[in-house]
Each structure stands twice: as structure tokens, then as C-alpha cells.
């Protein structure tokens, strides 16, 4: 019987201070941690995936209004944030590199710089959301189709003005503001209501996706902060740096989500001509 499953001596060997008791080697521990993080990110992909699926379906169903609505987002702010986030990924990669080479001081520093970039991102986002609020893009209970059409009108007026201007004619004729509002007052048209609702769906998805993304960043700050603290304590070494590497994977994931969100939300309506 015992011939079938023999046993090896537990080599009472090298008990590295960072080796948890249930692992045999540091390498096994590192592999398990990294694979664990990848598996977690897979879950995250599906978590965001539900939202992306909803987005894809409504974008397909209501493509005209989605493009229209997308034009109300501020591409400049979105682009700025994209650059900031990519920079933060760079600093994160540097942090991981430093932890691998045993440079604890700079591991900690790069991590803190990463948080700083993240905070900048959220700062920009804060002002952007505030602006969105002021121009009545909030899709919540007080969403008003009227506001939406109001907006549409103002934009159309501006476009026509520009067009007239570029044609060199000083005069421009567009319908009186009051008329447009009356024409498109939700009480006046099924289509008007529908289109306003479609735009509302866009903004709903915009807020859901960007706030879920922001939430991931907040969680990231806490984790990065903890790991930065340990890095300053000299907890990581070329033998043992998987926490830094894993937080790096997480942060890059958060970054990549944004890389998808930016074109889908901001650039959607930005055709060449606009």
C-alpha cells in the first residue's frame, strides 16, 4: 500500500522570511501570486464586460443618437486624462522594475508618483463631471428631454453660425430659439422623446462606466499606498517582489479599460468633419 504513494522528506530547508508556510519555494509562491492576479483580471474583464455588452447593443440600436450625445463630452479633457493615465502606467512599470532590481527607495517613489498621476486623473474627471452636471447631462430622475433639446438647439445654432461665418456671409438665418424649443418640446413628439431617451441611455452608460473605472482607481490608490509603505520599509527584494508586480498588473488593467472607454465614449461622434 504505502509503496503506491511514497513520501519525500520535508527538507527542513531554507525558510526564507517571505515564504509562506504552505508554499515549498519562493518560485512557486511567486507563480501562484501572479497567476492569481491574472485570474482576478479575467473576472474583471467579465465584470466590465456586462457594461460593454450593454453599450454595444444600444450603440448598435441607437447609433445616431449615441454619436450625437457623444459630441457633448469634452474630448480635450478626455484626451488629457488618457495621457495622464498612460504616464501613470509608465511610472508604475518603473516601480516594478525598481522592485526587481532591489531599489526600494525608488520603488516607493515611483508608486507614489503613480498615485499622484491617478489623483490628477480623478481631479480632471471631477471637473468634467461637474461640468456635465451643469449642462444637464445627468441621466437620473431629473433628466429632462427639454434640456436635451435645449442643448441640441444651442449647438445647432452655433454650427449654423460658424457655417455662415465661413461662407463669408455676415448674415445667418436660423430659426428663433423659442420656435425650436417649441418644436421639440417633448410634449410635441414621440420621436423627440425617444431620441432624448436614447441620448439619456448614452449618458447613463457613460456615467456607469467612468464611475466604475474611477472606483477601481480609488481601490488602486489604497493598495498602491500600502505597497509603497512596505517598499519604503524595504520589504521587497529581487527574491520577492510579487506584490509590486501584481499591483502593477492591476493598474495596467485599469489603464487599459480607460483606453477602451476613451474612443467608445468620447471619440464616437467625432468624425473628421466635426
Amino acid at each position: 500500500m504505502s509503496a503506491i504513494k511514497e513520501t519525500v522528506q520535508d527538507h527542513g530547508q531554507h525558510h526564507h522570511k517571505d515564504l509562506a508556510h504552505h508554499f515549498d519555494t519562493l518560485e512557486q509562491q511567486h507563480d501562484a501570486n501572479t497567476l492569481g492576479m491574472w485570474a482576478f483580471l479575467l473576472t474583471e474583464v467579465l465584470f466590465f464586460g456586462g457594461l460593454f455588452a450593454a453599450y454595444t447593443i444600444y450603440r448598435y440600436k441607437y447609433s445616431a443618437m449615441f454619436e450625437e450625445a457623444s459630441n457633448h463630452l469634452d474630448i480635450k479633457l478626455g484626451a488629457t486624462n488618457t495621457v495622464i493615465l498612460i504616464l501613470s502606467s509608465l511610472t508604475m512599470a518603473l516601480a516594478v522594475r525598481c522592485s526587481q532590481t532591489g531599489n526600494s527607495l525608488w520603488t516607493g517613489r515611483w508608486l507614489l508618483i503613480t498615485i499622484a498621476f491617478g489623483l490628477m486623473f480623478l481631479g480632471v474627471k471631477y471637473f468634467e463631471w461637474k461640468h456635465d452636471y451643469h449642462i444637464h447631462l445627468m441621466p437620473g430622475k431629473d433628466w429632462s428631454g427639454k434640456d436635451w433639446w435645449h442643448w441640441q438647439y444651442a449647438k445647432k445654432a452655433k454650427d449654423m453660425e460658424k457655417e455662415a461665418h465661413s461662407k463669408g456671409s455676415a448674415e445667418h438665418s436660423f430659426p428663433d430659439r423659442k420656435d425650436v424649443l417649441a418644436d421639440n418640446d417633448p410634449s410635441l413628439g414621440v420621436r423627440g422623446i425617444q431620441e432624448s431617451q436614447q441620448a439619456r441611455l448614452f449618458f447613463l452608460l457613460y456615467f456607469c462606466m467612468t464611475s466604475l473605472h474611477a472606483l477601481h482607481m480609488l481601490v488602486g490608490f489604497v493598495l498602491i499606498g500600502i505597497i509603497a509603505y512596505f517598499a519604503y520599509q524595504g520589504a521587497y527584494s529581487p527574491d520577492y517582489y510579487s506584490p509590486v508586480e501584481n499591483i502593477g498588473l492591476y493598474w495596467h488593467f485599469v489603464d487599459i479599460v480607460w483606453i477602451f472607454l476613451f474612443p467608445l465614449l468620447y471619440l464616437l461622434g467625432a468624425h473628421m468633419g466635426h
Binding site: 504505502s2 503506491i4 515549498d24 501562484a32 444600444y58
Partner: protein, 555 residues
């Protein structure tokens, strides 16, 4: 071929292969309450789950009792329409999310995965404890929702009723499910990494016990499916609080999108419930037939196939919603294909038993029950995957019977088989075989009495989820309620004789059933806190009974 006589000798031979029963073990090495509440030991965490899910099972069972009592008569005399809705919703949610999904993975998976693969613990012990507390918190939130007044949407939360019209505590319940969902995800993640990275020397993938394959496949489904329901419930909550219309047709949304997202998780979820039981059955049948499992590889792969196919059949729950007929045809075909791996397993088990030296221990009786009931459940699934018949049977008691045959007859029977099979390992004690067999028999009979009439009721057109029904259905409903009473007795018995055996039962040796996997051959009953005295080295496939029996004879 081994004879019965040889078998008992075999058992003696297996006894005390390793260690002594009075050794310090994981149960008695520390008695303080805190040592249990903050334990990182996978075995203790398994027991924490066992206690908690048993309580949830009792609660869910009580609600089932209320439902069956109401349906005893055609008129609504015990519950109001509203309470009835809340009762079946609470029953479904508790049984599925708080009992069945965690049952085998969280209790036995936690206890067994490291033992079966020769590891000291799961890959992430702290995460494991955290998952338990997430489960606990989710349960508390769900119970709060029930105490506040309950939820009346059904466990399926269909919109726009759940998002707009229902006046019950949908959001609180959704939060509870969200939290418990993450417990499920993290448990699955832990097992996946454990199986990948913690196997002992020599334990290649195709030397893994089939239970591990089952748990592995389950974990993959948990990891990939659960986040989708989490975000769906999140959107439901957003829609309900902000009055937006992502699923509300009045506001441009699409209620069918909710169903797609819901079933994208919830169909795979039914495989989360059944795959572990399939794994248990393979173990029990091999041990109690004393034979190598017939078609080891194909059983292993069919678990993976079920997990994969499970993700591409969800729309069979939506044949009557007006989805495109072409889509419906494709989903119908794909659904049929799920039956193939399930069928393969059943045939492999039969072939395993064929020519084996079968003994009828309690776990085996439960496994027999599993075999029959799972087969009926699966076969009736084919009626439902057929587009034409589904139109007739959808939302009737036929559906209720179908899934209870699989989930109660299949999954819970498998769970009971597992609890009985590994009880001596978990507690170091033997329960009474007499009471065990009796409970298995009573459960089987009670189960069929309860649910078989529901096939007929559904076929005759009785819809599900109503608290009243036409007089002509009463006879069959009385049968069903009477059966439920018997079933309840079958389930309550283990709650007496198992705890009894824990304190007063005969001491078990390390391998009372002559199992051939590491948790039997290389550890004591109950195991020591660190599982193995020495890291095992595996040199063989898991179920080589021929070789072993021969070795015993030649001694």
C-alpha cells in the same frame, strides 16, 4: 476480482496506514472560539461553511414547507398572494445562492482540494477566510432584506418588474447577492490557482482525482460567470434608484437585455451546482465498486466540456420571449449538445460499476439516487430544449420538476453522498450506517413523491408561481405536498445522527472505505493541522484498485 470477504480484509489492511488517531489534529489542536473564527486552515474554513450553509438550508427548507402547505388546497388559504410571492422568491434565492452554489465547493472543496492534491493549504489562505466572511456578510444582508419585508420578484429578478414596479426590498437583496457573488468568485479563483500551482510531486493533471476536475471546472465557471451577474444586479440597482431606463422599454431600454445578462450567468450557475456533484459521484462509485473509473480522461474532459458549453446555451431560458427564431434554433441545438458530456459521464459510471465489487455503503446509496434522478432531470431538459415542446412547457410546473430533479435530486444527493463519504475524514468518526441508509432511502422516495407529480401538473398546464390553482390539479398537489413531508424527514435525519456521531460515534480509521486518493491513503482521520506529515509523492493514476487489491492479496 475482489470478493466481499476480501473487501473487509482490505479495509482492515487500509486501517492505520498513517499516524495514530490520538494525534493532535486540526479539530483539537486549539479549542478557542477565535481560533475558529480567524482560522486560515482550509479544513476549518470548510467546517465554518458547513455550519452556515446548513442553517441557510434549514431556512430555505422552511420556506419550501410554507409553499407546499399553501399548494395543498386550490384556494389561497395559508398565505396571501403577496406573501406567497415573497416565500418562493426567498426560497429560490436562499437555496441557490446561499446553499447550493457554496455547498460542495465551499464545504468539501475547501476541505478536500489541498488534501487531494497533497498540498498544505489552498494557494491563498487569507483570501479563503475573506471569502467566507464575504459569504457571511452577504447572508446577513440577504436576511436583512427578508426581515425588512422580503422580495417578490422571483429569484430571476426580471425587469421591468424588479426595476420599476416591485415595492419590495430588491436593492438590499441585490447588494446581498453582489457580495456573496464575490465570495463565490474568490473561492473559485483560489481553487484554480491551487490546482495549478500546489500539486505535490508526481501529481500530473491526469493523475488528479475526478473530484478535483469537477471542482476545477466549477471554479472556472464561477470565475467567468459570476462577475456578469454582479454587474447586472448593479445596473438593476442603478435603474431602480435613479429611475433610468437601461432595462425599461418606456425609457428606451430593453428588458430582454436583462434576461440575456441574467442567464449568461445563471445558466452556467446551474453547472456550478451540478459539476461538483458529478465529481463526487465519480469518487464514490470508484471507491464502492473497487474499480478503476471507466474512461477517466473522458470524464475529466466532459467536466470541462460542460463548463464550456454551459456558457453558450443561456438563451434556452428565453425561447418564449420573442427572440429571433434563428437564434432560438441555434440555442436549441447547442443545448442539446450539453446533454452529450452529461450522458457520457452516466455511461462511464455504469461501466465503472460493471464487473466491480460493489458494496452498498450510505454514500453509494446516495450516489445511486443521484444517478437516477440526475438522469431524469437531464432527459427532461431535452424536452425543454426542443423549441416546440418548450412553448407548451415553459413557465409550468414541468420546469419546476425539471430543475428540482437536477438540483435537489442531483446536486443535493451528490452533496449528501459527499458529506457521508468524507465525514469520517472530516470528523474522525463513523456515523451509523443504518440511519444513513435509511435517510438515503427516505430522501429518494420522498423526493420522487414530491417532484414527479409536478411533471404531470406542468404537462397538464399548471403554471408556476401562483398561489391558487384550478380544483382539478388538487390530487397531484396533495401527492406533492405529502412527498415533501417525507423528503423533509429524510433531510432532517442526518441533522440528528451526524452531529451525534461527531460526539459519540465510533472512531474512524484513516481509510474506512478503502479509498485510493491521497486524503485517504496519506493522512490521518481527522488530518493534522498541516495535512501531511511528509509531502506525498504520487506515482500512479488515482484509481488503481486492481493493483492495490492484488498487493493486498499477496501480503
Amino acid at each position: 476480482m475482489a470478493t466481499v470477504g476480501l473487501e473487509s480484509k482490505t479495509f482492515e489492511k487500509f486501517a492505520d496506514v498513517v499516524g495514530h488517531d490520538d494525534d493532535l489534529n486540526y479539530l483539537n489542536h486549539d479549542h478557542s472560539v477565535l481560533s475558529w473564527l480567524f482560522t486560515l486552515d482550509h479544513k476549518r474554513i470548510g467546517l465554518l461553511y458547513l455550519v452556515t450553509i446548513t442553517l441557510m438550508f434549514l431556512l430555505g427548507g422552511a420556506l419550501a414547507g410554507a409553499i407546499r402547505l399553501e399548494l395543498l388546497t386550490p384556494k389561497g388559504d395559508f398565505l396571501t398572494a403577496d406573501t406567497y410571492n415573497k416565500a418562493f422568491t426567498a426560497h429560490g434565492i436562499i437555496m441557490l445562492f446561499f446553499f447550493l452554489i457554496p455547498s460542495i465547493p465551499a464545504v468539501l472543496g475547501n476541505f478536500l482540494v489541498p488534501l487531494m492534491i497533497g498540498a498544505k493549504d489552498v494557494a491563498f489562505p487569507r483570501l479563503n477566510l475573506f471569502s467566507y466572511y464575504l459569504y457571511f456578510a452577504g447572508s446577513v444582508i440577504a436576511l436583512t432584506a427578508l426581515l425588512l419585508g422580503g422580495v417578490d420578484t422571483g429569484w430571476t429578478f426580471y425587469t421591468p418588474f424588479s426595476s420599476t414596479y416591485s415595492n419590495s426590498y430588491v436593492i438590499v437583496m441585490a447588494v446581498g447577492l453582489f457580495v456573496v457573488g464575490f465570495s463565490s468568485i474568490l473561492t473559485g479563483l483560489n481553487f484554480i490557482i491551487t490546482v495549478h500551482r500546489m500539486r505535490c510531486p508526481g501529481l500530473t493533471w491526469f493523475r488528479l482525482p475526478l473530484f478535483i476536475w469537477g471542482i476545477y471546472a466549477t471554479s472556472v465557471v464561477q470565475l467567468l460567470g459570476t462577475p456578469v451577474i454582479a454587474v447586472t444586479l448593479g445596473l438593476l440597482g442603478v435603474e431602480r434608484t435613479l429611475g433610468v431606463g437601461i432595462f425599461d422599454p418606456r425609457l428606451g431600454g430593453d428588458p430582454i437585455l436583462f434576461q440575456h445578462l441574467f442567464w449568461f450567468y445563471s445558466h452556467p450557475a446551474v453547472y456550478i451546482m451540478i459539476l461538483p456533484s458529478l465529481g463526487v459521484t465519480s469518487e464514490v462509485i470508484a471507491t464502492f465498486s473497487r474499480k478503476n473509473v471507466f474512461g477517466y480522461h473522458i470524464i475529466a474532459f466532459s467536466s470541462i466540456a460542460i463548463a464550456v458549453f454551459g456558457f453558450i446555451v443561456w438563451a434556452h431560458h428565453m425561447f418564449t420571449t420573442g427572440i429571433s427564431p434563428y437564434a432560438a434554433m441555434v440555442f436549441s441545438l447547442l443545448t442539446f449538445s450539453v446533454a452529450i458530456p452529461s450522458g457520457i459521464k452516466v455511461f462511464s459510471w455504469l461501466a465503472t460499476m460493471y464487473g466491480g465489487s460493489i458494496s452498498f455503503g450510505t454514500p453509494m446509496i446516495y450516489a445511486f439516487g443521484f444517478l437516477g434522478l440526475f438522469t431524469i432531470g437531464g432527459m427532461t431538459g431535452l424536452f425543454l430544449s426542443t423549441l416546440g415542446t418548450d412553448i407548451h412547457l415553459h413557465d409550468t410546473y414541468f420546469i419546476v420538476a425539471h430543475f428540482h430533479y437536477i438540483m435537489v435530486g442531483g446536486a443535493i444527493m451528490g452533496y449528501m453522498a459527499a458529506i457521508h463519504y468524507w465525514w469520517p475524514k472530516m470528523t474522525g468518526r463513523l456515523y451509523s450506517e443504518f440511519w444513513g441508509k435509511l435517510s438515503a432511502g427516505i430522501t429518494f422516495i420522498g423526493f420522487n413523491f414530491t417532484f414527479f407529480p409536478q411533471f404531470i401538473l406542468g404537462y397538464l398546464g399548471m403554471p408556476r408561481r401562483y398561489y391558487e390553482y384550478p380544483d382539478e390539479f388538487q390530487v397531484l398537489n396533495v401527492f406533492s405536498t405529502a412527498g415533501a413531508t417525507i423528503l423533509a424527514v429524510g433531510y432532517l435525519m442526518p441533522l440528528v445522527y451526524m452531529p451525534y456521531s461527531f460526539f459519540f460515534g465510533e472512531k474512524a480509521n484513516s481509510n474506512p472505505y478503502g479509498g485510493s486518493t491521497l486524503e485517504w491513503t496519506n493522512t490521518t482521520s481527522p488530518p493534522s493541522p498541516h495535512n501531511f506529515e511528509k509531502t506525498p509523492v504520487v506515482t500512479e493514476e488515482p484509481y488503481h484498485y486492481h493493483a492495490k487489491e492484488a498487493a493486498v492479496v499477496s501480503h
